[in-house]
């Protein structure tokens, strides 16, 4: 067990709980830490200095920032890759491992890449593997072994990542002192505030600044106590989209993420500043740390970062680092102040810092080099709001340009000042944000959901004055006298950027893509400005003239699970679904519907319908209730056939075509009353037909008095089919079912099994005598069971979709979307008998007239393979002797009734000649010869059974 030899005595602002310990392993070795420790701080307290190997050269890497953005602290935790050890808190039992190190972190074979480093510079992949192209698979196999990103276990149990919506008046992105001050002022202004911070607690850099300890407590307590502030810690605003549509990723201690979406009325951006690394030779050696890393380690986690330190400083932050180190008992070997012209030129040491070389030649023995030489302004969210940041060479960082009204900025991103100036500025920004949010809310309140007498929302029309912040002068310091790494994630050096420019990639955007600088997991937060500076230097230009790259969402890496959220794919079921499930129905997913495919033996189900009687649940059939005097005109336009003469009690089959003449849907419509009709559609077309009807009613400009109401699921629909259908139904209703009184294509409304208002259609899709019952849905199961009970002696049995498909194919009824496609116009579906071109107008008429004049290109035909047992799969091509495609099989099954193979097919018109034989090419390459039939119906072509 390795303990915490580098742990300091208690520090005033530490966040660890020393009363408890947690035990975990790193590369198999056991370690202990305290609750509140990050993985990195706990390991550092135990003396670990090397945490990972770099991406390309497998150089040993140690702590750089000690936070979320640390590129050197990516580890595997259990089966979770790419975990930020500078952020993830330790917990008992964590299995932490270094990524892509073999055979060990201490001795990594791939470190041999450094020996050929001169050949692995920018563009190495493009230049080396571009030819010969045939060798790419071999290259790829080798390159895959160098993928640097941990391991994923595909057997890991799937986690649910709940998404949620939190529409705040004001969202403050960044919970440092400025963010808290802005949030508090906004909340005091009467608005609801969401405050988001990436760290485990609010406070930003004040958390590790002992001088601000009391101010932090006061401000943080006020924020926590405010009822209108919702604080999300360990969270980050990952994107800002039009209208302040924000994505917020909320993390949990175990790394699971959840997405919160917010339509913020005002966004206040207060991310603070990110300390920027300095480029020099050996700047990636373990022991080279940024000042913020040292301050975090000492003040938050009570970890001594080294024993003898050199501090390279260029600002007051570096001076504060020196004080922290002294307090931690670290010997200060030297302070190199860039403001006085003293710079580090190189770091030496094999596995970590052993000495620091100062420009001019001095070498200082040390195991720690701390760098505090500049800041990067994380302007990402501002970029996403359309802002182009402007570089200020005096202050050596970018500042925001003009912002839209719904975005404000505070804190270090806005300017410089002491704690009082910055928080006062932020408070003014928060108050103005509240005022603007209230103004937006007042506009949004003009909605019909508010009562007529609701008072208008109050808004202060006077803008809140926001004081200006100064810009403090800061040395422009990006690289010293030597070259070094500027992208630690991708192992890209300043030299690589110079080379990229020399090769012609002479803009920041081009050089970035060529070298992959800023394209690693940090997405430029540490690297962008150094990369731009390197490009500018190579071009002999300035940073201001070179400009920066574009920051796009997401701001931080986000798990796919968080983006996906909960799976919301609605499932629809009929009122008889529980019965189907209880009686062994094999489910079929048909769009959103779950339907019984069969109950065990679809062939037996077909035979039972042909010989006895069967019932099928057809609830998904679309049903539209049409009312009003304008309905006949509407039907006349929607369908290709005629409707004005349909009598009350009559039913007619109709086909709808789109305006291009392509078959769109089919079904029957019955007339229930003088101005009352019930239309049925295909199951899959229900929503589209409703939309089509409403489209004509609302925008057709014809002024029809008609109402269309979808009633698909108001009815449980049951088709009773078979020679005994009449006998069965007669046992449950007093309705006169004789053929004379209730003939084919008629509709009645009756009481069935004691249930009133059952719509009974005498129609049939199966080719048998059949009645379609549309039962008020709540009584669907009652009628279903009543049919099964009443018909037990008649052999009644349920049948499913598969049996229905066989039955309708035997009868030659086509299915829209299966036997037709997106190009099948009406005459190609054998609808000559239905299309009435003498009508004045109907949807698709001009195209159908044209098709009629020139003749259809293809026709729907019935085929019967000569070899009766051979069933060519659906979608098989029909070909000539020379394998020219002349058609395709659209439906095929073995017919239990005829004991032979039967098909429907789309065939070029010149080949659609009854009696001719065509060749069907099956997917396995066989040829099946089939005869073109006289008519579509393979069974009972005269229709006597259905009309019985």
């Amino acid at each position: 067990m390795t303990g915490g030899d580098w742990r300091l005595p208690p520090q005033p602002g530490e966040v660890i709980d020393r009363s408890r310990t947690v035990r975990f392993t790193f590369n198999g070795t056991a370690y202990v830490g305290h609750p509140g420790d990050t993985i990195a701080s706990a390991l550092a307290a135990c003396g670990v200095r090397v945490f990972s190997r770099s991406f390309k050269y497998h150089r040993p890497r140690g702590i750089l920032t000690a936070g979320w953005l640390d590129p050197n602290l990516m580890v595997q935790v259990g089966d979770d890759p790419n975990v930020r050890a500078g952020h993830r808190l330790v917990a008992d039992g964590l299995d932490v491992r270094s990524q892509d190190t073999w055979p060990s972190l201490a001795f990594d074979v791939k470190a041999a890449n450094q020996l050929v480093g001169r050949y692995l510079s920018a563009g190495f992949y493009y230049k080396t593997f571009i030819r010969p192209a045939r060798l790419w698979p071999a290259y790829e196999a080798v390159l895959k072994r160098f993928v640097h990103g941990g391991q994923i276990d595909i057997d890991t149990p799937h986690r649910q990542h709940d998404k949620t919506y939190h529409h705040a008046d004001v969202v403050v992105a960044g919970g440092g002192p400025a963010g808290m001050a802005a949030a508090l002022a906004a909340a005091e202004g009467g608005t609801g505030v969401v405050l988001v911070d990436e760290d485990h607690d609010l406070g930003g850099h004040w958390r590790w600044d002992p001088e601000q300890a009391s101010a932090l407590l006061e401000l943080r307590d006020a924020v926590r106590a405010h009822p209108r502030i919702s604080a999300y810690t360990d969270s980050v605003v990952i994107g800002r989209y039009d209208g302040n549509w924000l994505g917020i990723v909320v993390r949990s201690p175990d790394g699971a993420e959840r997405l919160v979406k917010s339509r913020a009325k005002v966004l206040v951006v207060t991310p603070g500043l990110i300390e920027r690394p300095l480029v020099f030779a050996g700047n990636d050696r373990p022991g080279v740390m940024l000042g913020t890393a040292v301050r975090r380690l000492v003040n938050l986690y009570a970890v001594k970062p080294g024993t003898r330190a050199v501090v390279q400083t260029a600002n007051a932050h570096g001076d504060a680092v020196v004080e922290d180190l002294r307090r931690a008992g670290v010997e200060i070997a030297d302070v190199l102040d860039a403001r006085q012209g003293r710079l580090v030129s190189a770091v030496h040491g094999r596995r970590g810092v052993e000495s620091v070389e100062v420009a001019g030649g001095d070498r200082i023995e040390a195991d720690l080099l701390v760098v505090s030489t500049g800041w990067t302004a994380p302007t990402s969210l501002l970029n996403m709001a359309g802002n182009r940041p402007v570089y200020d060479p005096e202050a050596a960082r970018f500042f925001p340009g003009p912002l839209p009204q719904d975005v404000l900025v505070a804190g270090g991103l806005a300017g410089d000042g002491d704690a009082k100036q910055l928080t006062e500025h932020a408070a003014a920004v928060g108050a103005e944000a509240a005022r603007r949010a209230a103004s937006t809310a007042r506009r949004m309140a003009a909605v019909p959901t508010r009562p007529d007498d609701a008072a208008a929302l109050a808004v202060d029309e006077v803008e809140v004055p926001i004081p200006d912040l100064a810009r403090h002068a800061h040395p422009e310091l990006y690289r010293t006298t030597t070259h070094g790494f500027l992208d630690f994630s991708e192992d890209v050096s300043s030299k690589d950027l110079h080379q990229a420019v020399q090769e012609g990639y002479d803009s920041a955007e081009l050089a970035k893509r060529y070298s992959t600088a800023t394209m690693g997991p940090l997405q430029g937060k540490l690297e962008t400005v150094n990369a731009v500076a390197a490009v500018a230097e190579a071009l002999g230009s300035t940073i201001a003239d070179t400009g920066t790259t574009t920051w796009r969402p997401p701001y931080a890496p986000t798990t796919l699970g968080a983006l996906a959220g909960r799976s919301l794919e609605p499932v629809r079921v009929s009122p008889m679904q529980d019965w189907h499930q209880a009686h062994g129905a094999v489910p079929l997913v048909a769009g959103a519907w779950i339907r019984p495919d069969h109950y065990g033996d679809p062939v037996a189900e077909v035979r039972n319908v042909r010989t006895n009687v069967g019932i099928i649940d057809v609830t998904p059939l679309g049903k539209l209730d049409l009312r009003g005097p304008g309905v006949p005109d509407l039907l006349e336009l929607l369908y290709v056939n005629k409707w004005r003469q349909l009598a009350i009690g009559g039913v007619r089959y109709g086909v709808m075509c789109a305006e291009d003449g392509v078959v769109f849907d089919d079904g029957v419509t019955g007339r229930l009353g003088p101005e009352h009709y019930l239309m049925s559609t295909t199951s899959g077309g229900a929503a589209a037909v409703w939309e089509w009807v409403e489209n004509w009613l609302q925008t057709g400009g014809r002024g029809w008095a008609a109402h269309c109401t979808p009633v698909t699921t108001a009815y449980a629909s049951i088709n009773v089919a078979g020679p005994h259908a009449r006998e069965l139904l007669s046992r449950l209703t007093e309705l006169d079912l004789t053929a004379e009184s209730f003939g084919y294509m008629q509709v009645r409304v009756a009481t069935v099994a004691g249930i009133d208002d059952v719509v009974v259609w005498r129609i049939g899709f199966t080719g048998e005598l059949s009645y379609e019952l549309h039962v008020p849905a709540g009584y669907g199961q009652h009628v279903w069971e009543a049919l099964l009970t009443a018909g037990a002696d008649l052999g009644v049995a349920p049948f499913g979709i598969e049996a229905q498909r066989i039955l309708r194919l035997e009868k030659g009824h086509f299915i829209v979307g299966q036997d037709t496609d997106g190009l099948t116009q009406g005459f190609s579906a054998e609808l000559d008998w239905a299309i009435k071109l003498d009508k004045a107008d109907f949807a698709g008429a001009p195209e159908l007239r044209w098709q009629h004049e020139r003749g259809p290109i293809t026709r729907l035909v019935a085929l019967q393979p000569l070899e009766e047992s051979s069933v060519p799969p659906e979608a098989s091509q029909i070909v000539t002797e020379r394998t020219e495609i002349i058609g395709r099989i659209t439906s095929s099954r073995h017919s239990p009734t005829l004991d032979r193979s039967i098909c429907l097919a789309q065939l070029l018109t010149e080949h659609a000649v009854a009696g001719s034989v065509v060749r069907v090419l099956t997917p396995d390459g066989k040829i099946v010869e089939a005869r073109v039939c006289e008519q579509l119906a393979h069974y009972d072509p005269e229709g006597g059974r259905a009309r019985a």
Partner: protein, 204 residues
């Protein structure tokens, strides 16, 4: 020939598309979902400017109680009337609107719609997991009615407060089970439960 059909009641009891656990026994749950699927529900279609709007007495976007019937302005020319099971709402409404000129449609959609009431201290939090709609009191006060996507299902929502925020949600029947199951799953940490519901107008 007269209109086919009748408005007679039937003796058999209809079945709800939901599967409630039974009557509410514990009101401490963060979210209670009451099954009200068997309520009588009507839809009225007419031009908003017509006399129907005045007769129904509520405009698009708002809902109001008239006795034991909740009248909802569900759409620009569409109203929903929700009332107790077995009431004579259909006949009464048709009678009330018979003299109104112009096309008026009154349909009984009781069987075609699933309906639940959601209440409890975490109800707004649970709704926020499944709908993007901003439920802020300023925009969706008590009595607000709107149609939106909830758990990817087109849903009519009425805010009808009872000792705190409470919402009536209804959707077409075949999706009702999915909708409620989505709430039960997403609200498991709130202790969301589905119970038998009872229809009652708010206390005056």
């Amino acid at each position: 020939m007269p209109e086919l059909g009748s408005d007679q009641a039937t003796p058999a009891r209809p079945i709800s598309p939901l599967r409630p656990a039974g009557p509410a026994t514990d009101d401490s749950a963060g979210v209670v979902i009451e099954d009200l699927c068997l309520l009588t529900k009507l839809t009225v279609r007419a031009a908003a400017a017509s006399a129907v709007a005045a007769t129904v007495g509520v405009r698009f976007g708002r809902a109001a109680w008239h006795g034991e019937i909740l009248r909802v302005g569900a759409g620009p020319d569409e109203w929903h009337l929700l009332g107790p099971t077995g009431s004579s709402m259909l006949a009464d409404t048709r009678h009330a609107l018979v003299a109104v000129p112009g096309l008026v449609s009154v349909l009984d959609i009781s069987h075609g719609r699933g309906l639940v009431r959601m209440r409890g201290p975490r109800v707004s939090d649970l709704l926020a997991r499944l709908t993007a709609f901003d439920l802020d009191d300023r925009f969706v006060p008590d009595g607000a009615a709107f149609r939106t996507s909830v758990a990817s299902v087109v849903t009519d929502v009425v805010r009808d407060d009872r000792d705190g925020p409470s919402y009536l949600l209804h959707c077409e029947r075949s999706s009702a089970r999915w909708l409620v199951d989505s709430f039960l799953t997403a609200g498991a940490d709130f202790g969301a439960t589905l119970v038998d519901g009872a229809w009652a107008q708010p206390a005056q």
